[in-house]
């Protein structure tokens, strides 16, 4: 991976030079925040939260205009970012689909058309079953699926996206086979599970918390290397921190997390990247941000430069493996 280490070194260099020249670049006109999801989606909340923190603490002098471009699972927003080549007044908010989408669909952009700036949080995935389901842990649920191949239904958000990828990883890791039903979004998958129309989902904490509080669904394990932060109890005295990791629970998947990422178009000045890194790092340290992350049970993790590049490379490789095995890669 020689070429990769070079990019990583470059990214590191950018980060270092940025630290010394943080005030070299300032926006000179209104900044456009491009949201790669529709209004009300997870990415939309992420971007609008950052917007409100920036304006509250006056971290950017220019006004910020948020535009939603969620078409094609967010591809529309990234292509809009590509079109702003060289213009550092266009900031794109997304997830790991920034670098995963071009694998599974023929799109008019490549990852190289965007400049990575930072990631601010990792959204977690959990394995959920219906609240009154007879499974006490992940292991017994997996055994039940194995006993009845294609007899269980896993619901998730969209197709060839994170939820289905994770479902395929579970099948790969355990040999259990089930039916994947794609819905419009995580909230639909949550309600379908509560209503007993599907047997499980792999929703983010935020998408299922309402149903968990009511005891309609229950978490079996979290696809994270370590347990989640403790937090308040949610249902029957149990909170996020009490959920075992899937590895502990006997489901051999080390980690599956979705980074909340921020990008600029290609060929922007290095000190502009440094400027946004600085702003976002300040955002990540505000109490409002900490509160937002805790409430939505995401894992706060600020990454930039080499750390971000390393994370992206690992995440990219893990997902690509699934895409290739499933025959989803189009180009």
């Amino acid at each position: 991976m020689k070429s990769f280490s070079i990019t990583a070194a470059l990214a590191g260099a950018i980060a270092i030079s940025g630290a010394t020249a943080a005030h070299a670049w300032q926006p000179t006109k209104p900044v456009e925040f491009v949201v790669t999801s529709g209004a009300g989606g997870g990415t939309d909340n992420f971007a609008r939260m950052i917007q409100s923190i920036i304006s509250k603490h006056k971290l950017i002098d220019q006004p910020i205009v948020v535009v939603n471009k969620g078409g094609g699972s967010g591809a529309e927003g990234y292509i809009h970012g590509k079109a702003g080549k060289g213009d550092a007044h266009r900031v794109v908010f997304g997830t790991n689909n920034a670098y995963l989408l071009p694998y599974v669909a023929k799109l008019g952009y490549k990852v190289s058309d965007l400049t990575p700036v930072a990631a601010l949080a990792l959204d977690e995935f959990l394995l959920w079953v219906k609240g009154d389901a007879p499974y006490a842990d992940a292991k017994s649920y997996i055994e039940a699926i194995k006993a009845k191949p294609m007899g269980f239904k896993m619901g998730g958000s969209q197709s060839k996206d994170t939820d289905q990828t994770l479902t395929m990883m579970i099948q790969e890791a355990t040999g259990a086979k089930m039916i994947y039903v794609p819905f419009q979004g995580g909230s639909a998958a949550a309600v379908q599970l509560a209503g007993g129309h599907i047997d499980s989902n792999v929703n983010n904490p935020n998408e299922n918390i309402g149903q968990w509080k009511a005891g309609q669904v229950k978490p079996l394990c979290v696809f994270s290397p370590v347990r989640l932060a403790k937090g308040e109890p949610v249902f029957e005295g149990k909170g996020w921190g009490d959920i075992p990791t899937c590895k502990e629970a006997g489901l051999p998947i080390e980690t599956f997390q979705m980074p909340r990422t921020v990008w600029l178009p290609a060929e922007v000045p290095a000190d502009a990247v440094a400027f946004y890194e600085g702003v976002l790092e300040k955002v990540s340290k505000t109490p409002e941000w900490q509160e937002f992350v805790t409430r939505t049970a995401q894992t706060a993790r600020f990454m930039k430069g080499k750390e971000l590049a390393d994370f992206v490379a690992r995440d990219d490789a893990a997902n690509k493996k699934v895409f290739q095995a499933e025959g989803w890669v189009v180009n």
Partner: protein, 162 residues
């Protein structure tokens, strides 16, 4: 002068072409029915085919009406005078969209409103210019300032720092 017969035929041919284009686009994916129900292309394929078939239906009906000499197909669809009025109104719209594409929405707004008021409405120069500028200013305040939605900007808007 265009009779209804020609208008019906031309429209049906266009919708026929539309249907076929949809069918062609759908063929990129499977159009069959597998264990998980219809494949991604099936729905657009049959929709396109249905549009194409119904367009042929309209063509057949239209030609049959003409052979029978039904009065409806001989009706006037558009004569010179009416066409003139429609084009006089529509051409500036195309102009507005073209100017928007190249010079931005504010320039286009001012140009279009001025043209419409001065030459279509017959208002005086001063009133027309003032109304056009005033409308652009109102749009600017309502959209950019209050709702924080940027309208399409071109080189001129950038020049004055919008």
């Amino acid at each position: 002068m265009i009779t209804r017969f020609w208008a019906e035929t031309a429209t049906a041919l266009v919708t026929l072409a539309f249907g076929l284009v949809v069918v062609w686009g759908a063929l990129e994916f499977g159009i069959g029915w597998d264990s998980s129900g219809p494949q991604p292309g099936a729905f657009p394929f049959y929709t396109g085919a249905l549009v194409a078939l119904a367009s042929v239906g309209t063509l057949v009906v239209t030609f049959a009406q003409r052979r029978r000499g039904a009065p409806i197909v001989g009706e006037i669809f558009l004569d010179r005078e009416r066409a003139g009025r429609v084009i006089a109104f529509f051409a500036p719209l195309v102009g507005f969209v073209l100017i928007t594409a190249f010079a931005g929405m504010y320039v286009a707004t001012i140009a279009y409103l001025f043209y419409a008021m001065r030459f279509q409405g017959g208002y005086g120069w001063l009133v027309s210019v003032a109304s056009a500028l005033g409308a652009a200013l109102v749009f600017y305040l309502v959209f950019e300032r209050f709702f924080q939605i940027g309208l399409l900007k071109g080189p001129v808007e950038r020049l004055i720092g919008l």
